[in-house]
């Protein structure tokens, strides 16, 4: 196209393209604005609870499942008249699975939305970042599923309703040594996640105490696609099993490449594997692998079956453990609100700390002096794309 005669045409094209770009930019900005449930900010007749979770990104099913669990508990409670005569509302902000976003989301929930309590995150690194902000402002926080011990060590405002990685690592080690009769296990962990590093250490110590050997510890960074160097090294050590204490997207990718490299040893994982996406990404490669989890939907206990019925009335499919834990966390919070003399941070935290033998879907919950819960773990195996119950491992007293 020559310059001169087409000058006006090119100006029009330029303006049009500028308009398109501006439109696209607006779309992007509105998409970035976080996901909020519609409705007015703090009304006097409602109790606002904040949820920060990964609604998008590589761990998106964690945030989405938690949200489902919280909303299920909230709807149930509101149908029964709410808490202290007020309706409960959950406000959700997306962390995108990024540590730096967790602190921002909690700050917004506390300072802008004035929530009385916080629920979240699933990933331990994000719960630590969010917990620091919660502690600073004196707002009680319950994480449904962060298992790294450092999470509740942030301060006296941070609680959890799940077991700890010190126990989970031991549970997987016991399963590997006793049920799988594994002597040599290789480890491939995510060096960027507190959860993964912690679980690796606890597993390694427990497995060595049971007489096993960890042949090699290899690392990756979350989101990595190429594990060939690590898996080739692992294959050389001829392990009986490979422990991959990461999150589900990476675990699926590891499984695909392990099988392509001809590494046939079963893979072992922790509760970070629990997502429908694991089977979707891992496909046939993940079949037969084991991971530890918080509950199994095959459990006949009445709490579990009632929860399944309530879930299936609203959603399709089977809830993963993140839904169950979030449901327990929210119900435990409401129970503490009932007992607390006021909803100030101090009173509420004291009421949560006093929780004893709360009948949750994921087991009986008693909050101990370190603000943790002591519960049993289940080991499940991937069969036909579904985690299937193998055995239950009770907590050590």
């Amino acid at each position: 196209m020559a310059r001169g005669p087409n000058h006006s045409v090119s100006r029009i094209v330029r303006r049009a393209s500028a308009a398109i770009l501006a439109l696209a930019a607006t779309l992007v900005l509105s998409a970035c604005g976080g996901r909020t449930t519609p409705g007015p900010a703090p009304a006097p007749d409602e109790i606002l609870v904040g949820h920060y979770g990964s609604m998008t990104g590589s761990e998106a099913t964690f945030g989405r499942s938690s949200d489902e669990g919280f909303l299920l508990a909230v709807e149930e409670r509101n149908a029964k008249g709410g808490v202290k005569g007020k309706k409960v509302r959950v406000k959700t902000y997306d962390t995108q699975g990024k540590t730096q976003e967790a602190g921002t989301a909690v700050t917004r929930l506390v300072t802008d939305d004035k929530v009385v309590a916080l629920l979240g995150e699933v990933a331990s690194s994000l719960s630590i970042a969010g917990g620091r902000v919660a502690q600073q402002y004196g707002v009680p926080m319950i994480t449904p599923a962060s298992t790294n011990p450092a999470v509740t060590q942030v301060g006296d405002m941070v609680f959890r309703v799940c077991f700890l990685d010190s126990f989970q690592g031991e549970a997987v080690a016991k399963f590997a040594a006793r049920s799988l009769k594994a002597k040599k296990v290789a480890i491939l962990y995510d060096q960027g996640q507190a959860y993964s590093k912690g679980l690796k250490d606890y597993f390694g110590a427990a497995f060595a105490a049971l007489g096993g050997t960890v042949t090699t510890e290899q690392a990756y960074t979350g989101g990595d696609q190429d594990f060939s160097a690590q898996l080739t090294t692992i294959r050389e050590t001829m392990p009986d099993a490979v422990f991959v204490p990461g999150y589900y997207t990476d675990a699926g990718n590891v499984a695909i490449q392990a099988r392509r490299l001809g590494l046939t040893a079963p893979l072992l994982g922790g509760d970070g594997w629990d997502s429908a996406k694991l089977a979707e990404i891992g496909g046939a490669a993940i079949e037969g692998s084991y991971f530890s989890n918080h509950y199994s939907h095959e459990d006949p206990r009445p709490e579990v079956q009632a929860f399944l019925a309530a879930y299936r009335a609203k959603h399709h499919g089977t809830p993963d453990a993140m839904v169950a834990l979030a449901y327990d966390a929210a119900r435990l919070l409401f129970d503490a609100m009932d007992r607390a003399p006021s909803l100030s941070g101090k009173d509420l935290a004291a009421a949560i700390a006093a929780t004893k033998d709360f009948a949750g879907v994921t087991g009986k919950i008693t909050i101990d002096a370190d603000r943790n819960a002591n519960k049993s773990a289940v080991i499940v195996q991937m069969k036909g794309g579904v985690p299937t119950f193998v055995e239950s491992i009770p907590p050590a007293e």
């Binding site: 998008t56 590589s58 190429d226 160097a229 080739t232 490299l261 996406k277």
Partner: protein, 308 residues
């Protein structure tokens, strides 16, 4: 021995993909003397648009088997789509700035990159969750040497990459259009005075580079079928490594980009396998620093006196 052979094979497979992406950086730099930071997003677009096409054809369902040539059809379609996207980006974002200072164009390129990443995340585009790419190319173990499997999909991947690079080489050095590209890269003004349609040549260069990036995207998704979400930091890092490959080989030099890609792949994978996988990115960027210190023009680049 097994480990050495396995690592060498992976290094060639990954390196040839870096090379394919690096070619786009190097060609654009060659003709316009600016770094197109949106190029790595075209690579992502290549991977995700082929996933979207496969999904539209119902090949992502469990148990679906795409026809034998389906993978190649999608390869061509995604190359054509990304070439069009590359040409459109050049036409609307870069051409209006043709006479502007280079910094303005560079910042625009970063803007285009962010735009592509975020539009890709919209729910009606590609969404924000990782997806499993279906197996579009036939895969089986062809041969097994010393415990290392030579897989058909790796062979097709590396073969396609090499074929595309040879095709590009022939295009640039043996055709009239290639001569026009080289002339524009030598001196835009003089080339225009000699009657070379500069705008058309530049648009063609963008289209060509984008098509190669799209091919790299699909081949990458075949090797690593768990696709990260479009705005994942990993994609940016991959693009950066390909850019490093272009610089190491000598930016503006086509053979340099191929050499750089293979070298980066080897450094990364051998470093990860034999030293420590914790530092795999460090090896790549250390190589960049060394090359910049001792051969600033790159391995195959010629130091040119800046024209004033």
């Amino acid at each position: 021995m097994t480990k050495l052979l396995q690592t060498a094979m992976d290094a060639v497979a990954v390196g040839s993909l870096y090379a394919l992406i690096a070619l786009g950086y190097t060609m654009v730099y060659g003709v316009l003397k600016f770094i197109n930071f949106a190029h790595s997003d075209i690579f992502v677009l290549g991977a995700w648009s082929s996933f979207a096409m496969a999904a539209a054809l119902g090949w992502t369902k469990a148990g679906a088997t795409p026809p034998l040539l389906g993978g190649f059809a999608i390869l061509l379609a995604s190359m054509a789509f990304c070439a069009a996207a590359g040409i459109a980006i050049e036409r609307f974002a870069y051409r209006p700035l043709r006479g502007a200072p280079r910094l303005n164009v560079l910042i625009t390129a970063i803007g285009v990159s962010l735009l592509l990443q975020n539009v890709g995340q919209l729910p009606f585009v590609f969404g924000t969750q990782p997806q499993r790419m279906p197996q579009l190319l036939p895969d089986r173990v062809l041969a097994s040497v010393a415990g290392v499997d030579l897989r058909l999909v790796d062979l097709i991947g590396a073969g396609t990459a090499v074929a595309l690079m040879l095709g590009l080489e022939a295009l640039v050095f043996r055709t009239k259009l290639g001569r026009a590209m080289r002339a524009v890269s030598w001196d835009v003004k003089t080339a225009a005075l000699m009657g070379i349609p500069v705008d058309r040549v530049v648009a063609f260069t963008f289209g060509l580079g984008s098509a190669l990036a799209a091919a790299a995207g699909l081949l990458y998704a075949m090797k690593y079928p768990g696709l990260n979400q479009p705005a994942h930091a990993t994609w940016v890092l991959l693009g950066l490594k390909a850019f490093v490959a272009a610089v190491v080989g000598g930016i503006g030099n086509i053979r340099g980009a191929m050499l750089g890609g293979l070298l980066i792949g080897a450094v990364e994978l051998f470093g990860a396998a034999y030293f420590s996988p914790h530092l795999r990115d460090l090896y790549v960027f250390t190589l960049l620093i060394l090359v910049l210190l001792y051969r600033p023009a790159g391995l195959l680049g010629r130091a040119a006196v800046e024209k004033v």
